[in-house]
């Protein structure tokens, strides 16, 4: 039993962590929290299922098309929901614009796909058990993503430019960094990470509309608690959340698990609004 809780918990945790990273990547380049993070994650599963199961494409083609769609979605989100409201960031219009885009995506999925959960095709032909792909695929995706982002920011010019933008947007622009271009790249990247998450989690969570709001919330919890912008916080927080949820689920039932997560979320945030690892707020006057 304990193996099941562990494997489920870690896999679920990896999914939350990945959505958390999706939030982070968008936030870093634009200071925008986007309601689309979990929605795009949900679409990863839905698109994968459509390409592979419905249209009968080979797995690799379906995967690549999903990734492409994710990048495209990211660009659209940047153009529609982020760019127009950046000028007045202090008015928090992005909360509304990203909410609107997220709702539009959800509703399109409900109409053109299904409101019910649809099974996701097997990606790699390996049988069930503890080494079931539904567990290791999300974990693998998480490791690759974190490793990839780390490599990017340490060893490439574009990665360093990202760091510069995330650290100080104005200074970065003053240095001549193409802020808008980098923002577009980062939203495309966030789109890709999002759909890869949904794709990798397809076996575990199915292709389901309900995953959208779910991932939006549970993906946000680890980044909020860990401190916005910190990928390490997202991974640690995500894994803890996944394990905790599975255990509470097993021992006390699903409602208790949800309530407990919610209470912890609120209490920690009320005590430390900037997150456990975040830094204090900027000056106001």
């Amino acid at each position: 039993m304990i193996e099941s809780i562990l494997s489920h918990g870690v896999a679920l945790g990896a999914v939350y962590a990945l959505i958390g990273i999706t939030y982070n990547v968008m936030y870093a380049s634009s200071r925008v929290f986007s309601f689309t993070a979990g929605t795009v994650g949900m679409l990863g599963g839905v698109l994968g299922s459509v390409f592979i199961s419905t249209l009968g494409m080979p797995v690799i083609v379906g995967f690549l098309l999903t990734v492409l769609a994710g990048a495209l979605l990211g660009l659209i989100i940047e153009f529609v929901a982020a760019r127009p409201v950046l000028k007045s960031l202090d008015q928090h219009l992005y909360v509304l614009s990203t909410l609107a885009v997220s709702l539009i995506l959800l509703q399109l999925t409900a109409i053109y796909f299904s409101t019910d959960a649809v099974p996701f095709p097997q990606v790699v032909p390996i049988g069930p058990g503890i080494f079931d792909q539904k567990f290791w695929l999300p974990i693998l995706a998480c490791v690759v993503t974190v490793g990839g982002l780390e490599y990017l920011s340490r060893n490439t010019l574009i990665g360093r430019a990202f760091l510069a933008i995330a650290e100080d947007n104005y200074a970065a622009r003053a240095l001549g960094l193409p802020e808008q271009g980098l923002r577009m790249v980062s939203f495309a990247l966030a789109g890709v990470i999002g759909v890869v998450t949904g794709f990798a989690a397809g076996q575990m969570m199915f292709a389901s509309l309900a995953n959208g709001p779910l991932l939006n919330f549970y993906g946000f919890v680890p980044v909020a608690l860990g401190g916005m912008g910190s990928n390490r916080g997202a991974v640690i927080g995500g894994l803890l959340l996944g394990l905790f949820q599975q255990m509470a689920n097993y021992f006390f039932g699903g409602v208790f698990a949800s309530v407990a997560v919610f209470v912890v979320f609120i209490v920690v945030l009320l005590a430390r609004p900037e997150g456990l690892a975040g830094s204090a707020t900027a000056r106001r006057v």
Binding site: H92, L93, V95, L108, I111, F217, F220, V255, V285
Partner: protein, 594 residues
């Protein structure tokens, strides 16, 4: 200039203020004459939704809190009313009593859902309301003994004569009209203005003594109560409720109806609620697409018409205003607002130290402001002038040193508590509520002198009405004082920069200041305007008020100051009579130049 009667501000006209109530009463009341029963059911739904939205409007439209998951309160209210009438956990209650109790339960939950807003930033708060709404649905599913789980429970049936569809309709309409009347009262009161002030100019709101937590607690209780009552009515309308009835789409409808309507308006959200409720009913294929349409509308509103329906209906502020206007202050009016007996107080700073990280922005400053004196504070950029000001008005707590008023230590008091000591201020960049009229901006300054409680304002009781009359009179006098009376009813964001500086002074005067802190009031003013400003400051001094003047215009400083303190690198470089300071060698070297 004779001492004629001052022009009165009609403010919002009577019709403008009560239009939502009248509209609801006339259109709603006449509905049976021109609509059939199908219409009646939709109209009942609109009334129920509006009861919730009327309260939510104060949270979203006025206080600017992004509360997305408000459907959770509808759920709580609906189950509370149904369970109380059915006697699930308590003895059976009469439906009316149950409805009121649903309001009480809703108010408590409104507080629970809302309180995180006091600490959390927008997106975080939005997420908590979302999380709360999913939790409530899950609990409704799981708590079978009370909610009936997925099978559901019957909603309360109202007694005669409200047990027919039209009966229920008129009951809901009456509740809706009453709730609209209450929100209109609140919106037009000092509480409504404070909410918008907190939303658009939080720092300035604190400076006039508005305490955000207490204000928001009132609003969340009120909004929660309305949502709870709406829930009870909703249960009666549905006649049978299951958790599925409280979909997230409904939450989206409420939230978007308000934003489409426009922030800071009641008529707009009322129209928004009606339109969004009707939309899917009259176009059958739209049902599936309704949330999609709402979302597209939301996006369009955010990107194209941030002011919503209310902005489209705001004809008054599209009239051009006179381009060649002059600010002509009338300092002789000052005693009309401040009286003639402002006590001369002493504000004393001793050894103030304020460091940000390793930078000691203020490094052991001693300074006193005496009643009836203008004290100039000058120095190069970054010498700590504004930081000193902020320490006095409480935005930063100094790490060392004390701030006292007539011996009373106020060092640790929050900014909103400084209004009690009649410490008023203006800001380097004017902090104005752009979407409110000029006179409303000024009225905010007198906020601390209101006596009526939130409930008194809600029910328009006499104490509240006399508050309002006095505030409006005083604000008009203050506007005449600074010479802006002709712009009283214009939206503040249409004014020029120099005019905003005078609006801030008018707002500060409303606090009957014993101390007035002016942060670069002459910046951006023409030579003539600076002269008038000087006259105004002198008149305020003559009232017995102590003025602290932070300025770069050396002429102004040396013309009107009784004493001058020069800061450099966070320390006092020189202090004394203007003449001494002007010829002080180090001051000349560091700042004034030869």
């Amino acid at each position: 200039m004779s001492t004629e009667t001052l022009p009165a501000s009609n403010g919002r006209s009577w019709l403008e203020k009560w239009l939502p109530v009248i509209l609801l009463a006339v259109v709603g009341g006449s509905l049976p004459l021109w609509g059939d029963e199908f219409f009646g059911t939709i109209a009942t739904r609109i009334c129920v939704y509006w009861v919730l939205c009327a309260g939510l409007n104060l949270v979203v439209g006025y206080a600017g809190q992004i509360a997305i998951g408000w459907v959770s309160l509808l759920t709580v209210g609906a189950y509370a009313a149904s369970a109380l009438v059915a006697g699930k956990v308590t003895p059976e209650f009469h439906p009316y009593v149950a409805l009121l109790l649903a309001g009480v339960v809703g108010a408590l939950f409104g507080l629970v859902v809302g309180l995180p807003a006091l600490r959390l930033r927008t997106f975080y708060f939005a997420m908590t309301t979302l999380g709360f709404s999913t939790i409530v649905t899950q609990i409704a599913l799981a708590w079978k003994s009370v909610t009936g789980g997925g099978i559901g429970i019957p909603g309360p049936l109202l007694p005669e004569p409200f047990d027919t569809p039209w009966g229920l309709y008129f009951f809901c309409l009456a509740v809706a009209i009453f709730c609209t009347w209450m929100t209109c009262n609140i919106a037009a009161s000092r509480y409504g203005r404070s909410l918008i002030a907190v939303r658009d100019a939080e720092v300035a709101a604190e400076a006039v003594g508005i305490y955000k937590p207490r204000l928001l607690v009132n609003v969340f209780l009120f909004s929660g109560a309305l949502a709870g009552i709406a829930g009870g009515l909703f249960a009666s309308l549905q006649s049978y409720i299951t958790p599925e009835a409280f979909s997230f789409d409904l939450s989206v409808l409420f939230f978007i109806a308000i934003l489409i309507g426009g922030r800071g308006s009641i008529l707009g959200p009322l129209i928004g609620t009606a339109v969004l409720t009707i939309l899917p009913e009259f176009a059958a294929p739209l049902v599936q697409w309704s949330t999609f349409v709402y979302a597209v509308l939301l996006l369009a509103i955010v990107l194209l018409v941030p002011g919503g329906i209310a902005e489209l209906l705001d004809f008054k502020n599209r009239k051009p205003i006179d381009q060649h206007r002059e600010i002509r202050p009338r300092p002789e009016l000052l005693p009309k607002i401040m009286g003639t007996d402002t006590p001369k107080s002493l504000l004393d700073l001793k050894g103030i130290v304020l460091a940000f990280g390793g930078v000691r922005a203020v490094d052991g400053v001693d300074l006193d402001i005496r009643g009836g004196e203008v004290h100039g504070l000058i120095g190069p950029n970054g010498s700590g002038k504004t930081t000193t000001l902020n320490a006095i008005s409480g935005y930063y707590a100094p790490q060392e040193g004390t701030v006292t008023v007539d011996g009373a230590d106020i060092t640790g008091l929050g900014p909103h508590r400084r209004a009690d000591f009649h410490i008023a201020r203006t800001f380097q960049t004017p902090r104005i509520i752009g979407e409110e009229s000029v006179i409303e901006n000024v009225m905010v300054g007198g906020n601390a002198f209101g006596h009526g409680s939130f409930v008194e304002a809600m029910l328009a009781l006499p104490r509240h009405r006399s508050d309002e009359a006095k505030l409006r009179d005083d604000a008009m006098t203050a506007l005449c004082l600074v010479g802006l009376e002709r712009l009283a009813d214009v939206r503040a964001d249409r004014l020029q920069h120099s005019e905003l500086r005078f609006v801030e002074i008018a707002r500060a005067v409303m606090m009957r200041p014993r101390f007035l802190l002016l942060d670069e009031p002459a910046a951006g003013l023409s030579v003539d305007e600076i002269k008038r400003l000087a006259g105004l400051i002198s008149a305020i001094r003559a009232q017995g008020t102590g003025v602290l003047l932070v300025e770069h215009h050396a002429d102004l400083i040396f013309e009107i100051c009784d004493r001058v303190t020069v800061l450099n690198l966070g320390k006092v470089l020189a202090s004394g009579e203007p003449e001494e300071v002007r010829t002080h060698r180090e001051v000349v070297n560091a700042y004034l130049g030869a």
